[in-house]
């Protein structure tokens, strides 16, 4: 039996960071060298994200585990590590990158994460058809980190898969190993 609990809670990490990187930061495009910060919601407030989440998000430019590019865009999800204890909090960072020019990137947020799946089961609502927008837009190529940070706890040991899908655009799939202590 699987149990998921979404929500922002206090983060406690005990294991090391096992994310992989392969890209030299010097060779990054300029827009990936700019860090705009990471926010999260706490009730009705927008506050600065936890340092642990910021550390995960800022690893995006150099990680080798990004979503496939489709139509000049890609979605990527990131976690601090790949191995978690049963019931340990898993915090997921969301990134949208548009790699080709000619598009607008809507960076206001933190935007709700629609269409996230764990083991092919939806754990967030589907994207609504109607969404107004107010605020700055950036021309592509560019990157947007301004999405809610989702939080899960998985109580069934074994391998579990997480991905994020918006329309036909699908993120990389994170394969997490949940182990008993």
């Amino acid at each position: 039996m699987k149990a998921f609990a979404q929500g922002i809670e206090e983060l406690t990490m005990s294991n090391g960071d096992d994310r992989k990187t392969d890209q030299d930061s010097e060779s990054l495009p300029p827009y990936l060298k700019q860090w705009r910060g990471l926010s999260m919601r706490k009730g009705n407030e927008i506050i600065e994200a936890l340092p642990e989440d910021v550390a995960v998000a800022t690893s995006y430019p150099t990680t080798n585990e990004k979503g496939e590019i489709a139509g000049g865009m890609r979605l990527t999800i990131l976690t601090k590590k790949k191995h978690y204890q049963v019931g340990e909090e898993i915090r997921v960072i969301h990134v949208m990158e548009i790699v080709e020019p000619g598009h607008e990137l809507f960076i206001m947020g933190p935007k709700p994460v629609y269409g996230e799946y764990i083991d092919d089961r939806p754990v967030t609502p589907p994207r609504p058809e109607v969404q107004d927008y107010d605020g700055v837009v950036l021309e592509s190529p560019n990157v947007d980190y301004n999405y809610d940070i989702t939080s899960y706890r998985i109580f069934e040991p074994g391998r579990h898969r997480i991905y994020w899908q918006m329309g036909e655009l699908r993120s990389n799939t994170l394969e997490l190993e949940i182990v008993t202590s």
């Binding site: 407030e45 927008i46 933190p110 058809e129 109607v130 107010d134 605020g135 700055v136 837009v137 301004n146």
Partner: protein, 414 residues
């Protein structure tokens, strides 16, 4: 013969630029006064005052022409021995009153002699000659000098550390009371410049010399590097003596005075609305100076009716570089929403980070806007959709600001 044993002071004249004070008397007119000045700057005020107070004789007449309220002293009342003054205007270095011939002069009664090296009182030689009555000194208040405790331009928002912008003047009032000749001028300067702390001019120079209260103009030149905040201080010195100092401050430019102008209408297969250019200024007058500043948008939804009822909450943009305006704001509504009438108000303000001072999440001055959407069902026409954005004093996500400038209104038929 008297032995004066006061330790000579180090030369105190600085190389700083001197301000031009209206009405200031220059001493080049009088050789005698030049002599006093030279003495005073060479061996210190106390020795000269003592000399003035204990001398007698022929200079009384010669100096009477110097009586002037500008000097704070009536020199006509001070007896000075001409020959003794001349002896000190061309000294063999180093100047030391121990070597001066003070024969025929008397120290004021009760004056204390100090050993040159130890500073301890030296017994007066005996027998002491009869003391002549010293002239009553002109009453003089104690010197009191003040500089602003906080050096910050008027454009500095509440919550920011003390700072001034580059390129433009920031006035600072220096208070001086009790100054009188033969005191040294009070030198106003900014200490701590360089090494990433930034640099500042005062009335266009590195320092100014003052003898009376004045408002000086501080102008940032080099901006403070990130990590070096608060390394500058406005100080007042008399010679090497520190008289007053401000708290630490920085030189940095910040974004302010946001405005909007029309960019384009949104008319895509799925969206309608308005795009506006979002401009801002630097308080230095040059947005290129904002290379260590970042700006962020705050949007909060307010009253909503009809087709927008229930839309609440707020958004921000994260921080973007502040040195490349304008950016484009988009205010779009999906066509699918236009099922009837309604309205919605959104409040918008801007915040900034300044890496030079370390300030974060500071509400930008004059960056408030109100965005109004109105959809009206019109017979035979469809839905008239109007978007209006204009400057308004408001707050969003807890950040308040006075009104920005500009307004843009466009109506589309859906």
């Amino acid at each position: 013969m008297h032995t004066y044993a006061q330790k000579p002071k180090a030369p105190q004249q600085t190389t700083s630029a001197r301000s031009t004070l209206p009405g200031r008397t220059h001493f080049g007119q009088s050789r005698e006064v030049n002599s006093f000045l030279h003495l005073q700057r060479t061996i210190g005020n106390q020795a000269v005052q003592r000399l003035l107070q204990t001398s007698t004789g022929e200079l009384g007449e010669a100096s009477s022409s110097l009586a002037s309220p500008r000097f704070g002293h009536d020199f006509s009342r001070i007896p000075v021995n001409h020959s003794q003054v001349r002896a000190r205007t061309a000294p063999e270095e180093p100047i030391s009153l121990r070597s001066c011939d003070m024969e025929g002069t008397e120290a004021a009664e009760g004056a204390e002699d100090l050993d040159q090296d130890s500073g301890v009182p030296v017994p007066a030689p005996s027998p002491a000659p009869p003391a002549l009555p010293a002239p009553a000194p002109a009453p003089a208040a104690a010197l009191n000098v003040t500089v602003p405790a906080h050096v910050r331009s008027a454009s500095t928002p509440t919550g920011m550390p003390d700072r001034i912008p580059p390129r433009v003047d920031t006035p600072a009032t220096v208070g001086i009371t009790g100054w009188h000749l033969p005191m040294l001028d009070v030198t106003i300067s900014v200490e701590g410049a360089g090494g990433g702390n930034g640099s500042v001019t005062i009335n266009g120079a590195n320092s100014v010399d003052l003898a009376a209260s004045a408002t000086v103009q501080l102008r940032g030149v080099d901006q403070t590097a990130p990590g070096n905040a608060g390394g500058l201080r406005l100080v007042a010195r008399q010679g090497p003596t520190l008289l007053a100092s401000s708290s630490g401050f920085s030189v940095s430019s910040i974004p302010q005075n946001f405005s909007v102008s029309f960019h384009s209408q949104i008319s895509t297969p799925t969206m309608r609305g308005l795009r506006v250019n979002n401009h801002w200024e630097s308080d230095s007058g040059n947005v290129a100076d904002l290379d260590e500043a970042e700006r962020s948008e705050q949007v909060q939804y307010g009253a909503a009716t009809g087709i927008w009822a229930g839309v609440v909450g707020g958004n921000n943009s994260g921080y973007l570089p502040a040195n490349s305006p304008p950016l484009v704001d988009s205010h779009g509504t999906p066509l699918a929403r236009f099922t009837g009438s309604g309205s919605r108000i959104a409040e918008q303000t801007f915040t900034f980070n300044d890496k030079r001072t370390g300030a974060a999440d500071i509400p930008a001055t004059k960056s408030g806007f109100r965005l109004t959407r109105i959809a009206i069902t019109a017979p035979f026409l469809g839905i008239m959709f109007t978007v209006d954005k204009r400057g308004a004093a408001t707050s969003a996500n807890g950040f308040a600001s006075a009104a920005g400038s500009g307004s843009v209104t466009r109506t589309q038929v859906i």
